[in-house]
Amino acid sequence: MNARVEYVLRFGDNALVLAQRLCAWVAHAPIMEEDVALANVSLDLFGQARLWLAYAGELEGAGRDEDALAFHRGAGEFRNVLLVERPNGDFAETTVRGYFYDLWASLALAELSRSKDERIAAIAEKARKENAYHLRRSEDWMIRLGDGTEESRSRMQRAVNDFWRYTGELFLGDEVDATMREQGVGFDPTALREPWLERVRATFAAATLDVSSDVWMQRGGKQGVHTESLGYLLAEMQVLPRTISGAAW
């Protein structure tokens, strides 16, 4: 597959899979305001996914639009990082997963907004502005729940320990990243690691949470090697268009 198609799919799939995860919270969030917030964040991400996937489809030139890419690919064809496909768990887990992603996305989108590919730069700039609000919210919850009650702190720490192993992949580059960087289209993911860690340390200090020590970092999502849970997520997301071919609003 063309490197640029592959590259754009990664950003689209990250947004799409996380959006699908978050919308499962609707009517289940602990408080009304959070129900609305999670739905809003999910909606922003669906919108971003649509912009990325529509562009990926155009670049591919095989007649697939954003819906075809979202609903008619199998798990092995998805290019999202493993972090975003992890199940929601409790509110602490959803918060920690969201914070890790939002912080990474804020750095990644800032890089992409300077891409030589004007379409990529435009989508990234749009997404970047929305992401700033997502990060503000998730960082706020990290601190409130980390530096909260004994119960909330222990749940947050458990979630951090659980998700840490999925953060390494965010900063791993491969051939696609290298090609995109050479063309001035993309960025070097390893360069985001230090600024990401620096902000995590500051947030964790305020949240009284501990950064996990060395754990084996999981990888593979960007290349299409996923955990079992993505299959279940896609089954639910894709069942309608796959059962009723050509279904439309």
Partner: protein, 162 residues
């Protein structure tokens, strides 16, 4: 300033760019019907393309905003209704929309509708007090946050800055 959108203008819409602009000034935001797409600053251009077609350039507010599609359809519907042919809507992402583009008239209309416009301070749209507090950053639509006025104690929507 000319006041567009008068009913009398609608019957004699020509194909002039200004007439089209005036006509489309009647297209409302489906989620906040108090303001038009001109007020919101999302109609970026009305122009004649090289193939002779009329192009209406729209930019989305939030990328997941469901109103974007509805607005596009409303624009197309309004043009059709007035016999404007050979027109198309072009969605433009860059430069990204910002609340700075909401016009002065749009801000007044928001306030009159009970929504605090996107300014440095979220002033209460009822009593104008600047003493207000954020209750929830995410509100009933992607563009709004929920506030409460400390002076009159009323809750209100704030069109947040983007």
């Amino acid at each position: 300033m000319m006041c567009h959108g008068e009913r009398s203008e609608r019957s004699e819409v020509g194909n002039g760019i200004e007439a089209i602009r005036a006509l489309l000034d009647d297209v409302r935001d489906p989620e906040i019907p108090a303001i038009s797409i001109t007020d919101l600053g999302i109609m970026r251009d009305v122009r004649r393309a090289s193939d002779g077609a009329l192009e209406i350039v729209l930019t989305p507010t939030y990328s997941g905003c469901p109103a974007t599609k509805a607005i596009q359809e409303d624009v197309e519907g309004t043009l059709r209704e007035h016999g404007v042919e050979n027109a198309r809507v072009v969605v433009q992402l860059a430069p990204a929309w910002t609340t700075e583009w909401i016009t002065q008239r749009g801000r007044e209309r928001l306030r009159a509708f009970g929504i605090a416009p996107p300014e440095e301070v979220a002033r209460c749209p009822r009593c104008s007090s600047a003493s207000t507090r954020e209750l929830a950053h995410f509100g009933s639509t992607p563009c709004k946050a929920l506030y409460r006025c400390n002076a009159c104690n009323e809750p209100f929507d704030y069109f947040k800055r983007l």
